[in-house]
Symmetry: C2
Subunit: 178 residues, 2 copies
Amino acid sequence: MAVHVLRLGHRPTRDKRVTTHLFLAARAFGASGATYTGVKDPSLEETVNDVVLNWGGQFSIEFNDDWRGSISRWKRGGKVVHLTMYGLPLQRVIPDIRDDPSDILVVVGGKKVPGDIYGMVDWNVAVTSQPHSEVSALAVFLHELFEGREFEKVFEDSRLRVVPQERGKKVKEFSPKV
Amino acid sequence: MAVHVLRLGHRPTRDKRVTTHLFLAARAFGASGATYTGVKDPSLEETVNDVVLNWGGQFSIEFNDDWRGSISRWKRGGKVVHLTMYGLPLQRVIPDIRDDPSDILVVVGGKKVPGDIYGMVDWNVAVTSQPHSEVSALAVFLHELFEGREFEKVFEDSRLRVVPQERGKKVKEFSPKV
């Protein structure tokens, strides 16, 4: 099952760090790419692409403001999850989502989500019904979806790799492939 | 087991939204309060306190720049976890942390963490060894620590409460207590 993230309404000035964190969390927890709407932000894309270059694996990022089109296209072969504190509790719906073999598009809103989105998706999922962050909501959703298997994911062709330590930092560097 | 969060090096201009998300995630996933260092930020505190007022429960927030003092005091009766991508994998150390009945201080760094912190804490924990976000790291750590029981947490005396829906939004409002 592949997972792609659709981030709505990115505003470069206000959202740069949160959207960066969102996409890095998407990558770290096993999503294979992200699309965003709002305003195109080359420096956001560069930051994420630099992480992919250094830390490995495949993670695509693209701007496409037509989110209705993205959802419609995705629904031809896959399923769509919308993360919202107003939806059904994660712990109640995650078994159904896990059992579905379809690829999943995870829609993550900004402050103002258009009302018709609730009717367009397959599942409106609440990662708690409390206000927190799209970053934490996405990470916990993916962690539950993959049931911790994302912790074993190998990020191939990385230039850098952490060697886990009880104390301190150890990072291995590899030469880029010729 | 109570959990308190210590956020290092908050800079109001650059970090406001990420620290706000961090504290809201701390609250939503069961921590009982947070302390931060760096620069005091009344508007950050107001945002978090407003969420507590509206959405209920207890969550304290305070500024105290003496993080070494905070850690030392905490260690008299509790244990300290430092979230860092350079630490030992969450999935390897979480059973030991869960088994320990002590209250836990979770230290969350900013960009530049002083090197001596690795030696001061009981566990350096990596929520994946990949770069992502302190917000996602904290949420997944707390979710693993509480094993999903945080989803059942009741936030008492709230003015607002979500009524989970398959489609759309439903929020109940309660009158403030006299």
